[in-house]
């Protein structure tokens, strides 16, 4: 009755051999294709580096002014603008300006990337039940897999730095974008779609004029969640050399600097609030019809 007390597991050697062969295979792959992949991601690197340099080189009052302007354009709310300015001033005052700019540029790029990839995937998932059947389990895995695990293959393939960091963040944060785009499109009133068909709309006209506009609340919830998840992942990505607010947090953990961790953590929270409020207000403004009709 041995097998009842001890789980009948594969032998230690064969388990090791299996893991080793997976690792070897992957290493082989990355040795052969690593450079090609690196070249492929070069434009992304340029973008990441460029934006970070730009944000760091710009005098801080101009950056704050710019952020205030974006907040105003997005939200049309003076309260939100004031909140943004105060948050940024506080961050600067406590000596975290440079790290914040680095994180800001990282988040911006990752969010743009997630939206650019997630929106079409979400649309695909909404249009085809087969695509949904394939993507749903993939997304489930992506969202439940501990985020550290993403770092490993990315690092093996691309080493340490901005691009692997950005990729890890995007892989982690893109799921809600895809999911909520799909959901939003599938939730559009079938009666309205039927009307579009009855008036002779093409599939593209239906998507552009009916489905996407009506899915906007959901899509914006997706963008919002994606931003929040990127911010969370940025701390983890600092383990593979992404500079920014994550690194001091990491340092604080290893050295038990409580205050340092707290301050940088709070800076991330402030950034999150800024992004969240501006994107939520913008999303609401895009649906003027709901406000005016009290829906």
């Amino acid at each position: 009755m041995d097998w009842l007390e001890d789980f009948p597991q594969m032998s230690r050697e064969s388990l090791r051999a299996l893991q080793k062969s997976i690792d070897l295979g992957y290493r082989e792959f990355s040795r052969n294709y690593g450079e090609a992949i690196e070249n492929f991601f070069d434009p992304l690197l340029q973008f990441l580096v460029g934006l970070e340099k730009l944000l760091l080189a710009t005098p801080w009052p101009i950056v704050i002014l710019l952020l205030a302007a974006i907040a105003w354009l997005g939200s049309r709310s003076l309260r939100v603008v004031a909140g943004v300015v105060i948050c940024m001033l506080a961050i600067g005052f406590f000596g975290m300006w440079e790290d914040t700019m680095r994180t800001l540029s990282m988040i911006t790029v990752c969010t743009l990337l997630s939206v650019a990839l997630g929106l079409p995937l979400g649309i695909l998932m909404a249009r085809s039940d087969r695509a949904r059947a394939v993507l749903t389990p993939v997304l489930d895995v992506m969202q439940t897999m501990p985020s550290f695990v993403y770092l490993i293959p990315v690092v093996m393939l691309l080493g340490i730095g901005k691009v692997p960091g950005a990729l890890a963040v995007v892989i982690y944060a893109i799921a809600p974008m895809i999911r909520l785009t799909n959901l939003g499109i599938r939730q559009v009133d079938p009666a309205v779609l039927e009307a579009a068909d009855a008036f002779g709309a093409t599939a593209w006209q239906k998507l552009r004029q009916v489905q996407l506009p009506l899915a906007l609340p959901s899509i914006f919830a997706g963008i919002n969640q994606t931003i929040m998840m990127s911010l969370a992942m940025v701390v983890i990505a600092s383990m593979i050399g992404v500079k920014g607010l994550g690194q001091p947090v990491l340092k604080a953990i290893t050295n038990q600097y409580f205050a340092m961790g707290l301050f940088n953590g709070l800076a991330i929270v402030l950034l999150a609030i800024v992004f969240d409020r501006v994107s939520q207000h913008y999303g609401k403004r895009l649906q003027k019809y709901r406000e005016e009709t009290g829906q």
């Binding site: 309205v192 009307a195 008036f199 002779g200 009506l214 009709t293």
Partner: protein
């Protein structure tokens, strides 16, 4: 005048996983209930043969679930038939490719929906121009002009920048009507278009439709489950039961010569005297015309007036006999008091008058 605009032949629609196999069963005599219980398929349309005439309001009527919506959605092929043909102006809709079908929907057949189905994120004006913009055949300047024209025709002036949810149901459906009319299609499909509205608003909408039709002469396919609405609007009425066509005719035909018990029950509660016309009651045989001669106390009514008017006049003047005449005053026929009495009373009591 009597040209068929839409011609439906041998149309079947079966919902389920394998409609063509189910169709074989139906052809071998399996009925709707058995098909549902044993084969898990819904026989929604059962061999429909129907002509819908140009410039008419053609009403399709039937209880809920009788297949009305399914039938009307075949006319612009929102649903694919299991088998059968549908010719619109001579072209078979069932064989059209995607492009031809889009042209059909943009330029020939348009639709008004029970739940309005307006675009909630667009203003009234943008909703009205929706169909026009899809086809890209109308210049923008004309589109706006047209939209304002139809906006005024359906009495919506002043709300053009509102969103649909800010309007009452009646107003929303007027937007729906304007959106359909703005496309200049000859054929208007209306699936229970007024059923979601309050009775008073509904009557207003019926008036508006009749008013527009007297000038536009579209071919209107109007679906309703309400006989009063059918009688009020329909030039002809087709009655569906369990997916099959049981009768098609004008109001007089349906009221006086119901094809079966289903139709008879349908018309039982109708206020017949408002709908029936005096010709329907008159006797025209020579005997009747010879034995009864008009005198000073007899009453003459013109053909085309309704029985309700006749009754009120009979009650006032208590004539010795009743005669129907044409516009020129020539005698067409005679109406007996018994025939009149039989019209007034409800069917179960009618036998007591025999």
């Amino acid at each position: 005048m009597n040209t068929s605009k839409i011609t439906i032949r041998g149309l079947y629609k079966i919902f389920g996983n394998n409609p063509h196999l189910a169709l074989e069963h139906v052809r071998q005599g399996v009925d709707k209930d058995t098909l549902l219980k044993q084969h898990r398929h819904v026989l929604a349309l059962d061999n429909i043969n129907l002509d819908l005439q140009e410039r008419n309001i053609e009403v399709i009527m039937g209880l809920s679930g009788s297949g009305k919506s399914t039938l009307i959605r075949h006319l612009n092929r929102l649903l694919e038939p299991t088998t059968g043909t549908i010719h619109v102006d001579g072209d078979d809709v069932t064989t059209m490719n995607t492009r031809q079908l889009r042209r059909l929907r943009q330029h020939k057949i348009t639709m008004v929906f029970q739940k309005f189905a307006l675009l909630p994120h667009r203003t009234v004006l943008e909703n009205i121009t929706f169909g026009l913009r899809l086809s890209r055949d109308t210049p923008t300047k004309d589109i706006t002009q047209k939209a304002y024209y139809w906006l005024n025709r359906v009495d919506l002036k002043g709300v053009e920048h509102y969103y649909p949810a800010q309007l009452s149901g009646g107003m929303q459906q007027r937007v729906g009507l304007a959106r359909a009319l703005a496309t200049d299609c000859d054929i208007l499909l209306m699936d229970e278009a007024f059923s979601a509205l309050d009775p008073l608003i509904r009557t207003d909408m019926q008036d508006m439709l009749l008013d527009l039709q007297s000038e536009l002469h579209k071919t209107i396919v109007f679906i309703t489950h309400d006989l009063d609405e059918a009688l009020r609007l329909g030039d002809r009425i087709a009655i569906l039961k369990d997916g099959a066509l049981v009768q098609q005719g004008n109001a007089q035909d349906i009221l006086l010569r119901p094809a079966d018990d289903y139709v008879r029950r349908f018309v039982a509660d109708v206020n017949r005297i408002k709908v029936l016309r005096v010709e329907a009651l008159m006797q025209t045989n020579q005997d009747a015309l010879a034995t009864n001669t008009p005198d000073a106390d007899s009453l003459t009514v013109t053909a085309g007036s309704d029985v309700q008017t006749l009754i009120s006049r009979v009650l006032v003047s208590n004539p010795t006999s009743i005669w129907v005449v044409n516009d020129a005053g020539e005698k067409l026929g005679h109406i007996s008091r018994k025939a009149l009495a039989q019209t007034v009373v409800a069917e179960p009591l009618r036998a007591t008058l025999q």
